[in-house]
Symmetry: C2
Subunit: 342 residues, 2 copies
């Protein structure tokens, strides 16, 4: 195991200086044709590879970006990350991933950790609903050294760009669609509405009801986590009501699935007795055999790509020219069996 060759090794071998070697390798200033040729050949021969770490220290650019997500093993987040990686790699960047598992202190810690390894930017889907508690994020915002781009789960912060989908529209369209199917009492499985995304889906749901003359009923909104079990529990509650709903708009596909399971096992039919619409277009919603699940596509791949593009623009500019972008993608309602009465 010999050490990697450096420009000093090449210089020594050729009786030159590291400076000359560096210049020759970079095709930079006027280097005579002969020495350039010689250096290039020798570099090849000695298996020289540029040490990007040294370059990063010197230039102040690490060409690494950090991506922070609650978890990576969900179709949504891994698709976003795919988009980010595919967009950034061709520009010379590497993607460092961090998971928070929705824990504030971990998020805090990972932000600091990324800053310390000198990432050129951070793209994150924030886990931490209350901003004040997040010291890492606050520090980041305060000294404005590292560009930050939110995707999906964002916070409204002046000067910080974001790429999200129009969750309000997603909620509105889903609800409107259910109304169009003739549903009158539409329940909503929400999630922590301290997050903009869940609040907006909820608000879209309410607005659609309002616009169509249906009175909003607080008792039809149930807070659930994004998993099958919670969906089941919520459906149970709804079915046991004196006046059960005739439709459910769930802010999560997993909760929608749980609800569907519970409803069917209770002897009801979908969509005849109850229409269901989920959110995210997880692969399994399409694969169901009887009741393919209507849902809202968030275009995670595009979201990742866009977030990466916004980052690239921000690092490209000097800080005084920087413009804040708040890009909002348009979601698409995908109507499937679980909400198609006709």
């Amino acid at each position: 195991m010999k050490k990697k060759t450096t420009i000093y090794d090449i210089a020594a071998k050729l009786g030159l200086t590291a400076a000359t070697v560096s210049r020759a390798l970079n095709n930079n200033t006027k280097i005579s044709f002969n020495t350039r040729k010689l250096v290039l050949e020798t570099a090849l021969e000695m298996n020289y590879e540029q040490n990007k770490l040294a370059l990063a220290l010197k230039s102040g650019k690490s060409y690494n970006v950090g991506v922070i997500v609650p978890r990576i093993d969900s179709n949504f987040f891994s698709s976003v990350i795919r988009g980010i990686e595919e967009e950034l790699y061709p520009k010379g960047y590497h993607v460092i991933i961090c998971q928070t598992h929705n824990q504030e202190n971990i998020e805090n810690e990972k932000i600091n950790s990324l800053v310390n390894v000198q990432v050129d930017g951070i793209l994150m889907s924030i886990s931490n609903a209350n901003l004040e508690a997040n010291k890492g994020l606050n520090k980041l915002l305060k000294n404005k050294k590292t560009p930050l781009v939110f995707f999906d789960r964002k916070k409204d912060i002046k000067g910080i760009s974001s790429v999200t989908i129009d969750d309000f529209k997603g909620g509105y369209d889903a609800t409107k669609h259910l109304l169009d199917q003739g549903c009158k009492r539409i329940a909503h499985l929400s999630n922590d509405r301290n997050f903009e995304i869940f609040r907006n889906r909820y608000l879209g749901y309410r607005q659609a009801l309002l616009d169509n003359g249906i009175e909003f009923d607080e008792s039809l909104v149930i807070e659930t986590q994004s998993n099958v079990q919670d969906g089941r529990r919520a459906a149970r509650l709804l079915l046991d009501m004196e006046a059960p709903p005739d439709a459910i708009f769930s802010s999560s596909d997993f909760a929608a699935l749980g609800a569907i399971q519970e409803i069917k096992e209770s002897g009801f039919n979908i969509p005849e007795d109850m229409c269901v619409v989920g959110f995210s277009n997880e692969p399994f919603t399409r694969f169901m055999e009887l009741t393919t699940i209507s849902t809202v596509d968030q275009f995670p791949l595009d979201m990742g790509r866009k977030a990466a593009q916004v980052f690239l623009e921000e690092v490209g500019h000097t800080e005084d020219v920087k413009t804040t972008q708040n890009i909002v993608l348009t979601p698409e309602l995908i109507v499937r069996r679980s909400s198609s009465k006709k």
Copy 2:
């Protein structure tokens, strides 16, 4: 946007040397209680954070590892990566992800790229079936500077550790199970058998047939990619045979799903007319309403964790003590509706 504070800034402010500051911060050698206290306070006050890039250059350790996978947006790979991240972060490492999309030249390129940013190791699921063509990998193997650990898709290379599952056993158990259900003509949807994983599943399948007195029939083995469409196509071929099979063991859950769809649409019943077993335990296999899909669990989270542990052991040792580990996890057959006749 002011610059980040360095130990020189602290030193200047206190009339000390960077060396002293460094020592004080590291609690290292004998530094007087007073100056240490002073330095620590000042560091806090000036928002000092260690520049890991400088440290990495000096120490030769970047505390970054590269993870190379065909793609990240599949449940299997994202779960492995989750395991890797969770295991490595507490030890101070960051995870850089790279996707190859099964393209040899990209794999090649990304290996080089990771080496250049001085990763401390590479964990990869190899995309490139023929080793000789992969210059990047060969260079990596030749100078043995960067520890390499294969997971899932490996190549047998002397001195290179790996973490895989026992694909032979997976294939064997699945096939044996189908035989136990009374199936006599069992087809196999394989995949490129230049990859060990697919070859081993295939070999396990053959051995199970052999051990149970069933003659192997070449025409029942169909090569498919891991997607729904290819599964459909394969099932169509099988159904159109003069003597169609009565069971399918698919090396992919997605192909299994496609096959199931095609079979059902052709008017056959599962599992009565045809038993089906997939591979990977993708989430949707559990979520099916009528025909939950039998499959083989590969424990991706454990695989990622183990791969990370192997890496940690390898970097921990000096190179002469290093021992090669080839860890083989045991897969678990999960019997569901698609293959349960009784």
